[in-house]
Subunit: 340 residues, 2 copies
DNA sequence: CCCAGGGTTGGGAGCGCTCCCGACTTGGTG
DNA sequence: CACCAAGTCGGGAGCGCTCCCAACCCTGGG
């Protein structure tokens, strides 16, 4: 296992070259106050001349921190990763971390072995905190991290998750507003295409749909609900199924823009006009929503804010050492375009 | 910056509890030989009772290795990440690393600042090697890593890349075989939809297309070439454009399955039957290729082997300290389905 | 000219582990 | 029963950094 790399200059060597003490060099590289400007410059020159780079293992060991956080994807079906939601979130997290000096590391956890390995990595101190996305109902990872007292923030809660911090969008409210909008537009036979129902977010959106119908005095029929897995393909299938069961459908609330895009195709194939015959609403407001034909009315999730909030909560937990749990629910917003 | 976590037991404490020396405990946790079975069990019990987890920073510092490698995505347009190619590769790399005890970390490099930060991370010794995917022509990262003597393996070479290790598929050969196949099927007006041409892989596929046409004595017309960015949407657009320019097209070689899927839609929209009027060939052989209508004939890239080869090369470089460059070109394979 | 007090600086004491050498146990041999 | 090699073990010497306290340097007021 000879994995060592060629000798890099050490802090001590920089100190010798600049004719100062170790402490001074340390202060300079950490931008700490209390160093005379002239000294700082001397040290900086020595650093450049030697091409010095701090050894992060030593820094971690002495400083008891890693300056890195992990974003874990536990998606058992890792292909979901290809959905735009992931890349949008990852991007926003990256942005939110930009000037904290913290490195964002993505890791896959696709099996028990990988979960175990990651846990050792985290407990071993290679990261200071963990962001978890797309956590399914039975996943033990959050509890394991909690037990290890590792600061953790979930994206999207699971039902009953109180003893862990999370950031989530107001899925129920979003779905309600989608249905209300359709009702206002005079639609009366409204169906929904849900996401995978082992995801709490998908359950919430379904609940919002049902509640809105109920409070409008309309019967929420079970048969007007079809499940998808958030992909366009499954959206198409679900829509086809719904039309067949209920030819009189005049409105659909989809669980994501991707799903809605699939639904649009199915409607076109069935000869239904959108929005004239059937109005369609998506969820997420991804760039995709503006490129469909017609452009999609959709419930906007504030992805940018979600990322920022996750990072903020995580930093807070890291600061205080996970003594409290924080929950943030972000408001959604209906974006009306041409499909309703 | 109080980022420290609560006190974890140390190796020394385990040793004390098991009434052995530090060295013995170290041997046990590293599964080294030369420990009596009974001693090993005693130590193991102590480890469990204390819930001991090795401090990886200390291990790195003393052992001069990180037991981690990074997979860097330098895609300036990070949304490409959502393409299936990425998740397939990531999956195969994960598999290839499973029993090496090495943690795979994905990192995004979307800007100069992020590139700099990653470089410090890598040079600081947090990873033992770097895998680079989707490297565009002008990207300075490979050279920077080489200068730091960091073991590095590229996925897909860039033109003229000799002084860096890489793994690539035989893109030229793959494209040639696609064209040959169409010629055999009696097609004579063959177009191509390329990938983004600043990617060497896309250039190679284009070259293969041109060479195959030339050696069949057919004129390779420039106007039968349309560029895409590997997305379905751009494939659709490119195809529409091609049909307009050349209504007599009877064969198309697309630069990826996703692009081909887009092309299929455009053909359908234009009332062309596949394969009767126009034969279509994809590239990659993703699961998608079997779900299109009709199922796609495609040039298979051996993703699994690519991942394994990348890991193998990287491990070799890590072992010897980047003293040589290795190049592996993997054969592609034509998979004939219903679209030709 | 002396001294207080703030601004700088040096370097000891770890952080928790691996490496490795020397020492101690065995059990078999002569 | 002495002796030796192989099998086990203990613990010193770092790895390169941060933290922190003591020591030093000035400056200005008394």
């Amino acid at each position: 296992m000879g994995r060592r790399r060629p000798g890099t200059p050490t802090l001590e060597e920089v100190a010798a070259r600049a004719r100062v003490g170790r402490g001074t060099v340390s202060r300079v590289i950490n931008n700490a106050a209390g160093v005379k400007e002239s000294t700082r410059r001397t040290v900086q020159r020595a650093i450049e001349e030697l091409g010095y780079v701090p050894n992060l293992a030593a820094r971690s060991l002495a400083g008891r921190r890693a300056d890195a956080v992990a974003l874990v994807m536990t998606e058992p079906d890792w292909r979901q990763f290809a959905e735009p939601f992931f890349s949008e979130i990852v991007s926003s997290l990256g942005d939110a971390l930009t000037d904290t000096g913290i490195q964002l590391l993505l890791t896959l956890v696709r099996s028990d072995a990988e979960r175990q390995r990651f846990l050792e990595y985290a407990r071993g101190g290679r990261v200071d905190g963990v962001l978890l996305m797309s956590v399914h109902a039975g996943d033990p990872l959050p509890d394991m991290l909690a037990e290890a007292r590792m600061p953790t923030v979930l994206l999207g809660r699971r039902s009953g998750d109180e003893y862990v911090s999370y950031v989530d969008a107001d899925n129920i409210g979003g779905a309600r507003s989608a249905v209300s909008h359709l009702l206002q537009r005079g639609r009366r036979v409204i169906a929904t295409i849900t996401g995978p129902l082992d995801l709490y977010a998908a359950q919430c959106r379904l609940r919002g749909y049902q509640e809105a119908l109920a409070s409008a005095g309309l019967e929420g029929e079970r048969t007007r609900v079809a499940e998808s897995d958030f992909t366009a393909e499954s959206g198409r299938r679900a829509m086809a199924e719904l039309i067949e069961r209920h030819p009189d459908i005049d409105g659909v609330v989809a669980a994501s823009d991707t799903t809605a895009a699939g639904a649009l195709e199915a409607l076109r194939a069935a000869g239904r006009r959108v929005p004239e015959d059937v109005a369609v609403i998506g969820f997420d407001d991804f760039p995709l929503a503006q490129r469909t034909e017609p452009r999609l009315t959709t419930v906007r999730q504030p992805i940018e804010e979600i990322g920022r909030a996750m990072v903020r909560l995580l930093l807070e937990e890291m600061e205080e050492g996970a003594v409290a749990w924080r929950h943030v629910i972000l408001r959604t917003e209906l974006v009306v375009r041409d499909s309703t």
